[in-house]
């Protein structure tokens, strides 16, 4: 059933995928930037500062989605004890951390012209910082704890425990009075964002997702090579 997750089989696809992403990435980036910086209109209230949304929102989504993936994979690791899943989780973590940090930094830059401050002890912002701390703990536990089996166990516990923070981030703007605005895009309801702003947002999200896929594939390939090198004499 899990033969498709076999590193040997995946390895043959990695290079093809990397080449494919490289071939379309810059064209899509150019289109997305044109929409985000030129075509999309300024907001009636926030003016041109709204353009920060096109990098802030996809970064936040990727930060949240990556941790959710890591937490789910951690549960699967506990159930199936598959080494390959550990490699996948380890490859996703740095991407999630970078985008969580970018979300906080770009949010802070957006906050200055919008709220008049770089930082506020706001529920949404603080819970995003907590997410960043969970990412750091996950990465450090995998890097410094020996033996590897113990590191995997501890990092999985961190990921599953940290997953509690995900709904807190999502609903923080509804549960508490915060400076942060509520979600404008809803899957289960009517979105309040205009299509002229939604389209650049979707383009930027696509570009960021392609970038994440590229980094993930490169990191995953590195992990497979590292493991193969360890086992070279056993082959």
């Amino acid at each position: 059933m899990f033969d498709v997750l076999n590193p040997s089989k995946i390895f043959t696809w990695i290079e093809k995928l990397i080449k494919f992403i490289n071939s379309i990435f810059f064209i899509l980036l150019l289109v997305a930037l044109t929409f985000a910086l030129i075509v999309s209109p300024p907001d009636y209230l926030q003016g041109d500062s709204v353009r920060i949304m096109y990098i802030h929102v996809p970064s936040s989504w990727i930060g949240l989605a990556s941790f959710t993936c890591i937490a789910l994979i951690s549960v699967l690791i506990f159930i199936f004890k598959m080494k390959n899943l550990i490699l996948i989780a380890k490859s996703i973590a740095p991407i999630g951390l970078v985008f969580t940090c970018l979300s906080i930094i770009t949010g802070s830059i957006w906050g200055k012209p919008t709220w008049g401050t770089w930082w506020a002890w706001d529920a949404r912002i603080v819970s995003m910082v907590v997410l960043g701390i969970f990412y750091i703990l996950f990465i450090l536990s995998n890097k410094f704890i020996e033996p590897e089996s113990k590191a995997t166990k501890i990092s999985c516990i961190i990921a599953i425990f940290g997953f509690i923070n995900i709904p807190i981030i999502k609903y923080s703007v509804e549960w508490w009075n915060t400076l942060h605005q509520p979600a404008s895009i809803k899957i289960d309801g009517t979105s309040s964002i205009h299509s002229s702003m939604l389209m650049p947002l979707v383009f930027m999200l696509l570009v960021f997702l392609l970038y994440c896929a590229l980094i993930f594939l490169m990191k995953y390939k590195t992990e497979i090579i590292r493991i193969k090198k360890k086992n070279l004499k056993r082959i």
């Binding site: 043959t12 300024p42 830059i109 970038y211 497979i224 090579i225 090198k229 070279l232 082959i235």
Partner: protein
């Protein structure tokens, strides 16, 4: 028009700073990831070359990954 595009009605400094930080960070992550990958490919190839020719042949016959990594490393040098 270009001036308006750069200044963005006074918000230019915030918008450009946010975009610059994002793209510089992404470039650094890409560069570091690529460098680590190349280093591991080189280490793997070095380790493979340390084996006797018989052992190396067996490894390359048995492991598709070893063959691909070696090919990729040879291409990059």
């Amino acid at each position: 028009m270009i001036q308006n595009f750069i200044l963005m009605n006074g918000y230019g400094i915030f918008v450009w700073a946010a975009f610059a930080i994002t793209f510089i960070t992404c470039f650094i992550l890409y560069y570091k990831t690529l460098k680590t990958l190349k280093k591991h490919e080189k280490d793997f190839a070095d380790e493979l070359n340390k084996l006797s020719s018989d052992q190396r042949t067996i490894v390359l016959e048995k492991s598709k990954i070893a063959t691909k990594v070696l090919a990729s490393y040879n291409k990059s040098i």
